[in-house]
């Protein structure tokens, strides 16, 4: 129902068309939230631009309130981070605006304390997220 039988779910689904329609009335754009499910690794649909790319195949899609990718092992990329776990490319053309700021919404699972993960923006300095604090909660 969400546009998976349209020829491009990112631009021709009813929600993309509604959003375009309401913006055309003159409303300002607050932003968008996109799930990692919007990737070729999860869906076989052909679209103009999937925002997420799984660089390493997740073993499960079952974390968080909607399905997110689960990577099963400690992972340190080779080649100075050029082969990461996954990445997000802001779909400027599909959404109709240049993404200039972002929030990463993530789940802090119950588990071993002291674990962490890292990300960077456009290959910049790595940012470390301390995780597994026992909080079992969503954060950003």
């Amino acid at each position: 129902m969400g546009g998976s039988a349209s020829t491009d779910i990112m631009t021709k689904s009813w929600w993309a068309l509604w959003c375009k329609g309401i913006i055309n009335r003159g409303f300002t754009r607050y932003g968008d939230f996109l799930s990692p499910m919007h990737s070729a690794a999860y869906s076989s649909l052909t679209v103009s631009a999937w925002p997420f790319v799984m660089d390493l195949a997740p073993t499960q899609w079952s974390v968080g309130p909607n399905s997110g990718p689960f990577f099963p092992a400690q992972y340190t990329p080779l080649n100075n981070g050029s082969n990461p776990l996954m990445h997000y490319v802001h779909p400027t053309a599909a959404l109709g605006y240049r993404g200039r700021s972002f929030d990463i919404v993530y789940f802090d699972p119950t588990g071993a304390s002291g674990a962490s993960w890292t990300f960077n923006v456009n290959g910049g300095t790595a940012q470390t997220i301390p995780n597994m604090t026992g909080g079992n909660r969503l954060l950003r």
């Binding site: 932003g31 997000y88 789940f107 923006v121």
Partner: protein, 246 residues
């Protein structure tokens, strides 16, 4: 974690890339999604925000699953609806669970469209997903479905917000001009009843293409003969109808 113009690597450019690089332990990195904003210092205070949380037709399947670490997906939605400082300890939450709506975007908007679509609903029991012969799926109990529709509305209500349930069309397959092979479409009405029930009890609205298209989605040109998902014309029609009431 927020990324703004002061974050190393940031650029005022199209197609900026957020790269999720490493984790020190299995499952340490569990990204639910990325919010993007047109301003360089984070979100503004108002405007149209859109949440692409999942493939909506899969939502019941997703919500019916037990997630890694235990607890249902609904439990995590409940967590999003509560304040970020609280930790739920029971599943489903007890009567003392707050509904302050503290998390903010991508939840807790003043105007919410909720379309937890039910094209793959398979409760009770399990069946095979429509697009594969190997993936057994099971949907959520309709009463659980109702409970969380109500909770979404309660949070929205507490913020003096408005909510529209957008209900998709699931033809019967038996008398419709659209095949629904692979789906237990006979169960659809029990879920739609829950939208109606919550809308009446909680003062919100619904727009049903299940009524507007009914058993004739193919002859109307909005669904293909072998797929209950709307085609391009169907998606455009749905967008137009929803725009007409917003």
């Amino acid at each position: 974690m927020s990324i703004t113009s002061t974050t190393p690597g940031w650029a005022d450019a199209d197609n900026q890339v957020v790269i999720f690089v490493s984790q020190t332990l299995a499952g340490a990195m569990q990204v639910v999604g990325v919010s993007s904003y047109p301003g360089s210092s984070g979100p503004g205070t108002s405007g149209v925000g859109f949440v692409w949380a999942a493939f909506s037709g899969m939502t019941l399947y997703e919500l019916g699953k037990t997630q890694v670490g235990g607890g249902s997906k609904f439990y995590k939605i409940e967590q999003l609806l509560g304040p970020t400082t609280a930790v739920p300890t029971v599943d489903p939450p007890g009567t003392g669970w707050p509904i302050s709506g503290g998390f903010g975007f991508p939840f807790n908007s003043r105007l919410m469209f909720v379309g937890l679509y039910v094209d793959g609903n398979l409760y009770p029991g399990t069946g095979l997903a429509g697009n594969t012969t190997t993936m057994a799926i099971s949907g959520a109990d309709p009463m659980d479905f109702r409970h969380y529709l109500r909770r979404l509305r309660q949070v929205n209500e507490a913020q003096s917000g408005s909510l529209l349930f957008t209900i998709g069309n699931v033809p019967s397959g038996a008398t419709s001009d659209v095949s629904t092979t692979g789906y237990k479409s006979q169960n659809i009405d029990s879920y739609i009843d829950q939208y109606d029930s919550v809308a009446r009890a909680r003062g919100c609205a619904w727009l049903s293409h299940h009524i507007l298209w009914g058993e004739k989605g193919f002859s109307m040109g909005f669904q293909n003969a072998n797929d209950l998902h709307p085609n391009d014309a169907g998606n455009q029609a749905r967008a137009n109808d929803i725009l007409a009431v917003t």
